[in-house]
Symmetry: C2
Subunit: 300 residues, 2 copies
């Protein structure tokens, strides 16, 4: 299971109730932060995010509304006496900016801070439970989207068949891991008779800031959920093009062509007070669309 | 009249309802921003500050909780298409940090941004209605407090005496400016007979972050209102000393020795949930003490 919690759903200019981009992605017990606009640490307090669990932060690009909250969060982790390593992934010169700010404030962090400068598409992070990849988007400055791919190795128990052979519960974990079962009478039962193939892991793609560009489709194809920015409505598509942003229709078109299961839209221009039109415009093209709402967790 | 509006009253680590340092100082029609912790622009939205009126920002020092909201505010002024010049006063290398961030985000501001690097105590800004001066405080890195001094040139009309001479209302302004009055019978009445000396302008001093240090007293003596930090209660005075911060008792002692009229206290450590003890501790030494509360304007 993957959960995506929205901390900010607005574009550069905040409004009274919409904040700059920031999302929490939870995979099993791991919590990742994606983008960190100004005030992200306040949003974490408001929505009771377990900050202490965060050890990896991914920054899509260096427009202020996507990273200005990072230095405050890094400093607060210091005050909170975090001891675990913190890894920050983002384009250059994120490392230089943060290190300059820490230096001039004479801040000594009690934990190790590692920067991983993103320069090209590909794998960023992997373990046996998930992987995180990045891909280029088409924005005014270097910008990357991120894909979280859950790995499920364990085979799925076929309880009905298992019960036929009276297999003790303590052996279930081994069955999930693919072991065959040997009965008391020394009869071997093949694992494939007792379990089904591991289910496909869930996939979430965060498409960051981008103008309409089908070149991102191979990276997000068949995802269970994607987040695609919709800074403007369709009647502002020239402005969207000019500013390297997307409209609601364009986001829906990407979702449709990439054959994803669900689309979350966000990064709304502060000029829009009501957001209903974004959803209705997108739904005409891709029905399973939802407004990314601050404080809400979307489970896949 | 001077009004001080508190936008943030907490120290480095924000809490759910207390934010990093930021204050608005209003003198007549001029609005100044003093310090600009992360999220200051959200606080301005919340408390309906007329952002468009701000053309001078004073930053006391480069600990993050006093300036990290500045780049976001500068960027938002750009998106809002502000055209008037913006002047930022603060220690080095504030200019370098902000300019680096603007450069890497490829941001072109529609207005002129001027930096005034503060290196020593003295006058920062002056016109015929006010002056702003700065003074050194005793903190872990270079840090300055600010004093706002209202200038009142106009003499005070003595209405009782004016009425004795049947002087037309249209001449009142000239009387305030110090002119003598000539009657129809060509009799000169000295201005000093009709007016009293101009009242003393109000003085507000923002003492920034500082450990207990009586050397600030000459700069704030007899002020109508001072803001002095009280990061800790008295039982944490060793920690305060070590971290170059003050306790509530120390702030009150400074207010008493400087013979000011009123003391506002703030910059509370996030470890304190309730703030009542700060006020009661300070009041034992200096009775006219008040907790600086977010969203409240203090008029002098």
């Amino acid at each position: 299971m993957i959960a995506v919690t929205i901390l900010g759903n607005n574009s550069a200019m905040p409004t009274i109730d919409r904040h700059p981009t920031s999302q929490i992605v939870t995979i099993n017990d791991s919590i990742f932060l994606m983008d960190c606009g100004e005030g992200t640490q306040f949003q974490m307090l408001k929505y009771k995010i377990r900050r202490s669990k965060i050890s990896h932060i991914f920054i899509s690009h260096l427009h202020g509304d996507h990273y200005l909250g990072l230095i405050g969060l890094i400093s607060s982790f210091g005050i909170l006496n975090h001891l675990q390593d913190l890894h920050v992934y983002g384009p250059s010169p994120l490392k230089e900016i943060i290190e300059l700010q820490l230096k001039i404030s004479n801040t000594q962090l009690p934990y190790q801070l590692f920067f991983h400068t993103i320069t090209k598409e590909g794998l960023l992070l992997e373990n046996d439970k998930f992987e995180v990849r990045c891909f280029k988007t088409n924005h005014r400055i270097a910008c990357f989207g991120f894909v979280f791919i859950e790995k499920i190795k364990n085979r799925k128990l076929n309880i009905e068949k298992i019960k036929q052979f009276d297999i003790p519960i303590c052996f279930y974990k081994k069955l999930e891991e693919g072991l065959d079962y040997i009965t008391k009478d020394n009869l071997k039962i093949n694992n494939t008779e007792l379990t089904d193939a591991a289910p496909k892991g869930k996939i979430y793609a965060f498409c960051a800031d981008t103008k309409y560009d089908e070149s991102i489709i191979p990276h997000i194809r068949n995802a269970d959920l994607i987040y695609h920015e919709t800074t403007y409505l369709d009647n502002q598509k020239e402005k969207a093009e000019l500013r390297f942003h997307s409209t609601s229709k364009q986001a829906a078109l990407i979702a449709k062509k990439a054959e994803v299961k669900k689309l979350l839209i966000g990064h709304f221009s502060s000029k829009y007070i009501e957001l209903d039109d974004f959803e209705s415009e997108a739904k005409k093209i891709f029905i399973n669309t939802e407004i990314a709402t601050e404080g809400i967790s979307y489970l896949i």
